[in-house]
Amino acid sequence: MIRFNNVSFSYDNCEELAVSNIHAHIDRGEFVGIIGPSGAGKSTLVNLINGVIPHHLKGDFYGEVLVCGKDTVESSCGEISHHVGSVFQDPESQMVSTVVEDEIAFGLENFNLPADEIENRMTDALKMAGIEHLRHESTAALSGGQKQRVTIAAAIALRPKILVLDEPTSELDPQGSRQVFKTLKRLNQEYGMTILIVEQKVMLLSEFCSRLMVMERGRIIMDGPVRQVLEHHDKLLELGINCPRVVTLTKLLKNASLYFGEFPVDVNEAESVIRRIMEGAYDQYSESDLSLQ
């Protein structure tokens, strides 16, 4: 679905490479989290997929990016938007309208779709994002989480197969952030949408994503299923990347030779890990207890 072939890019007026020698392949239906310190090239990676680079932000571009089999250099930003929907950090700066409905219709009207088609797609997009009830609201009255879900709906109204998001929850409170991630999970599981999200909240990433990419200084230095990446817990902390606390805990239990299995990614999994450890110990104890009798 997305393929990076040895991609390097440096912005105009900047000698350093923003990303260098990126090789990556993302399949249909994946839910990929991208994490890394600021300035690691995460946003650049996103902008390479949605065509903002090289069509809007200029610079030196090496290698090729293929989205749905097409080279992003050869298709325009508008064409790419049929394949890739984009959501950015600040919902306020992305909104062009004062009413939710109009915001979602904006992109559809830009592509000169007939009114009934717009109506259909708008209804679908609102439903997919789970915000049908907000349809007629004024955008000024929405909470941050709601606003960001409106921008998601506006992006998916163009029926893209891929959705890329650049730190969409950084301005939101925990509840708003969770709402956004739940919406993304729905889009991924029920509608098979491929999702790429840049995010600092590692807890949400490990709970919701299937694959984690770690970037540092323009390179992808780790890439794999979430649990596999989290195993390199020490390395992540060294890079200045936070780890979910349940992972830190599991690491400690592994060091104490109490646990040897997979890393849990959320509280539920961690709970069952601990219960197994403690019940195991109890059973052992009661067995030995029995043998004593």
């Binding site: 902008n47 949605n50 065509g51 903002v52 069509h55 809007h56 932000l57 325009s76 930003c77 508008g78 790419i80 938007s81 890739v84 929907g85 984009s86 950015f88 950090q89 600040d90 306020e92 700066s93 992305q94 062009v96 309208s97 004062t98 009413v99 109009d102 219709a105 904006f106 992109g107 559809l108 009207e109 830009n110 592509f111 000169n112 779709l113 007939p114 009114a115 717009i118 109506e119 004024s138 000024a140 921008t151 506006a154 992006a155 163009l158």
Partner: protein, 253 residues
């Protein structure tokens, strides 16, 4: 400022009026008020604006606008009063600065003109969603979409920027900067540097917006429109009234 230009959600008869009519109404009234030199006509227009605001349920907001315009108007009036020495002298404010009947009448006219001309524009913005305004401008008035979009987006961002300016001023006050001086010249000197953070953050915003537009096919080709804005009988009636007002203003002189 923010309150004068922001759309107020509603479903009154004036909310539902074709935006083109509202646009024409606002501009025609504005022009008519500038042409007219009749106190009575201007008062009539003001009254009409108040009635419309009342029916549309935005009277409170409109009163705020009137108040702001009134303050501005009184300033104008005072200046005009001081610089019109012709006519019968009532009394002297300062030695050599008379208040005359002509001065009084003329300055009052000026104030009314400004209030009557500007309040319909503000009311129009309160009663018309941005999107409809955009449609009326591009489809009916044939303004190129790109330009119409710029105008409407500028209006849309005014509340955002005014909030941001508040934050910036508060941030500086927290660092002991005194912005609450009464002296207007001092105030300008104090506030001017604060436009720098506003400018920089708006440049950042515009950049995000540009990218967001780019990824949603902005200006890639011909553009369709979701809502067809039809004309109703009431629209017809409204346009007749507007034309009548214009003729009346010319007739009264």
């Amino acid at each position: 400022m923010k309150q004068m230009l922001e759309y107020v959600h509603g479903n009154s008869i004036f909310h539902r009026l074709n935006p083109l009519i509202k646009l024409i109404w606002a501009f025609v009234t504005c022009v008519a008020c500038f042409i007219s030199s009749s106190h009575l006509f201007l008062l009539g227009v003001l009254l009409m604006t108040i009635v419309i605001a009342g029916i549309s349920g935005v009277l409170g907001r409109a009163m705020g606008v009137f108040k702001a315009l009134l303050v501005l108007g009184l300033f104008l009036m005072l200046f005009q009063l001081l610089f019109t020495p012709h006519g019968r002298v009532y009394f002297y404010i300062l030695p050599g600065v008379p208040v005359t009947d002509l001065g009084l009448s003329f300055s009052l006219l000026l104030m009314l003109k400004m209030m009557a001309a500007l309040s319909p524009l503000s009311l129009m913005l309160m009663l018309t969603p941005m999107n409809e305004l955009l449609t009326a401008m591009t489809h009916n008035l044939r303004v190129p979409y790109r330009y119409a979009f710029v105008v409407v987006t500028a209006l849309r961002f005014i509340p955002t920027f005014s909030q941001e300016m508040d934050q910036i001023m508060q941030a500086q006050r927290s660092r002991g900067h005194e912005t609450d001086t009464r002296n207007p010249f001092k105030k300008v000197r104090v506030i001017l540097p604060m436009c720098i953070p506003l400018l920089i953050s708006s440049v950042r915003r515009v950049e995000t917006m540009a990218i967001s537009l780019e990824t949603r096919g902005f200006c890639t080709g011909p553009r369709s429109c979701r809502k067809k804005l039809g004309f109703t009988l009431f629209d017809l009636l409204a346009i007749i009234i507007v034309v009548a007002v214009l003729l009346l203003s010319i007739a009264i002189g």
